[in-house]
Amino acid sequence: MTLEIVCPAGTPAALRAAVKAGAHTIYCGFADETNARNFPGLNFGRAEMAEGIAFAHARGSKVLVAINTYPRAGAEHLWHAAIADAETAGADAVILADIGLLAFAAEHHPGLRRHLSVQAAAANSDIINFYADTFDVKRVVLPRVLSVPEIAAINAEIDVETEVFVFGGLCVMAEGRCSLSSYATGESPNMNGVCSPASHVKYSEEPDGLAARLGGYTIHKVGRDEPAPYPTLCKGCFTAGDKTSHTFEDPTSLNAEQLIPQLAKAGVTALKIEGRQRSRSYVAQVVRNFRAAVDAVAEGRPLPAGMLARLSEGQSGTTGAYKKTWR
């Protein structure tokens, strides 16, 4: 069976580009704090969502709507409305992280398929079975802390589908369990749908290179000819003990392209590409690449050579936690 490519779209134009490039499934969100890529100029209005879903359905692609931040106390109606509007727009599923929201969706929108967001960081079969039994979740997006053998072991003990990240930005921390960003800036993935928000980023050309600061904290400085990663907190250069280094993670991004055959064997249903903040040109290139790769694997052909390094942050790729030595 061919692995399903689940592709990001931050704008209607990116959604159309992804569909045309061969994405089986597209995920996107509404233009507000209900989704975890609440960035300036991104995401979908209600009408845009309905049009985007119609465009995808007409060409045989599915659309998942991410409503994967944690609703704010006193304002849950915004998230409840997002679920209702996703259903009305014809979404094939909603991607949720919050328990209260899962319970709400299961009760009030039983016909709307539910996926568990990576933001819930469900990292073992006990908790996945719990989500499946309690909220009738049909698919779980696995957190980026697991190795391939661990994913295989999980799939052997659960009945629901799993989706794993194969390309793009890499969370080093367990997703949905991190408030580094709000500590430095006041805005977090869980509450505001942003990490290391652009509004708190300042670049400045200084004598010793380009400095990137977030909330006043220097995240890194790079020399004139070095690649310049975005100042994501967990990929900064810091000093701990007597060592100055990328304390948490190098400024790299995930590229598990070469692991696709192993992920297929591990029983994974879908491969997810990160990057709703990236351009339609990026989306099209990455989708074409991965579609060719999964088609090759399904037909028993060798993987086409990778071509994606230039698109990556820091222009280098890692297979992240999929290889156990990453830990």
Binding site: C178, G215, T239
Partner: protein, 299 residues
């Protein structure tokens, strides 16, 4: 309002660990959560001391709960989590995996590492048997007010993070091991050298975070000692104090003094800053522009 001692986040040797709970038996805190929160590899070093510590605390009249791990992935960790109930005290779940092992309707507590951001989640946990919920540290006062009011309505005690380096993130990767060029499986327990965590400083020399194995903490020590009035008005029933080395009895005493009105918040803040690793306090998550901010004068 009263005081809860949260689970120790750091790797202490067994004697230090046991000594700490002996001391807490005589403290002004009403309840204690103990056990391993951060890394299952640390547990064998002091596991056999847990029953005696629980007994000492119960004998001293404290209410005791046992914490789950913050991130459960390995088979051994799942087994450990499933067995938590056997100690005969309530389990504090800090990863929802633990909830999947709590019998339907049985009492449990919810720790600050479970994402309780709103009424829907709060109600759902209460309906499953939660009797005490410590809210995530990043919640602003407006959310705390809504949830504490709901807690009062549902009979669930609401706690907030009152003191200690903030648990900002948990990972599959061990940063102490990475710092020493080792993998997690061969970490050689590098985190034991840093009983309050290891400071992470920017290249401009600004203190920022602290590493503690697979956990990332704030550099600053959070303290809501200047926010007691607002929290009391909101209906928060307890402040959680997170263990650190040094005179922790003085930390507990300072908070008890503020709750009783016998010590002014600013006087207490001066005492706490002197005891905090690095001497920096923060309370920005509750009322500031960001978590790292401190509402008081720089001390």
């Amino acid at each position: 309002m009263d005081l809860t001692i949260g689970p120790n986040q750091f790797f202490w040797d067994a004697d230090t660990w046991a000594g700490f709970y002996g001391e807490m038996a005589d403290s002004a805190a009403l309840r204690v959560v103990l056990g391993e929160l951060v890394c299952s590899k640390r547990l064998p070093f002091y596991q056999d001391r847990i029953p005696a510590a629980v007994e000492t605390l119960l004998d001293a009249g404290k209410t005791v709960a046992l914490t789950s791990l913050a991130l459960v992935t390995l088979k051994r960790e799942r087994k450990l989590t499933a067995d938590l109930g056997a100690m005969g005290v309530p389990v504090e779940i800090n990863d929802l995996t633990a909830l999947s092992h709590v019998p339907d309707g049985a009492e449990f507590w919810v720790g600050p590492l479970v994402n309780v951001y709103n009424e829907g989640t709060f109600r759902w946990l209460a309906s499953r048997g939660a009797t005490r919920i410590c809210l995530p540290p990043e919640l602003p006062l407006s959310s705390v007010q809504v949830l504490a009011a709901l807690g009062a309505e549902l009979g669930v005690a609401v706690e907030v993070w009152g003191f200690g380096r903030l648990p900002l993130a948990i990972s599959g990767r061990c940063y102490h091991a990475r710092l020493h060029g080792r993998t997690k499986d061969n970490c050689q327990f590098a985190c034991e050298d840093d009983p309050d965590g290891l400071s992470v400083v920017t290249t401009d020399g600004q203190p920022f975070l602290a590493m503690n194995g697979v956990q990332t903490l704030s550099d600053s020590t959070a303290s809501l000692v200047r926010k007691v009035e607002e929290l009391r008005d909101a209906g928060v029933s307890a402040l959680r104090l997170s263990p650190q080395t040094g005179a922790f009895g003085s930390v507990v005493a300072a908070y008890r003094g503020v709750l009783d009105g016998s010590v002014s918040p600013d006087d207490a803040a001066r005492v706490l800053a002197a005891l905090a690793p690095g001497g920096r306090l923060s309370d920005g998550f509750l009322t500031g522009a960001r978590g790292a901010d401190w509402s008081g004068v720089a001390v």
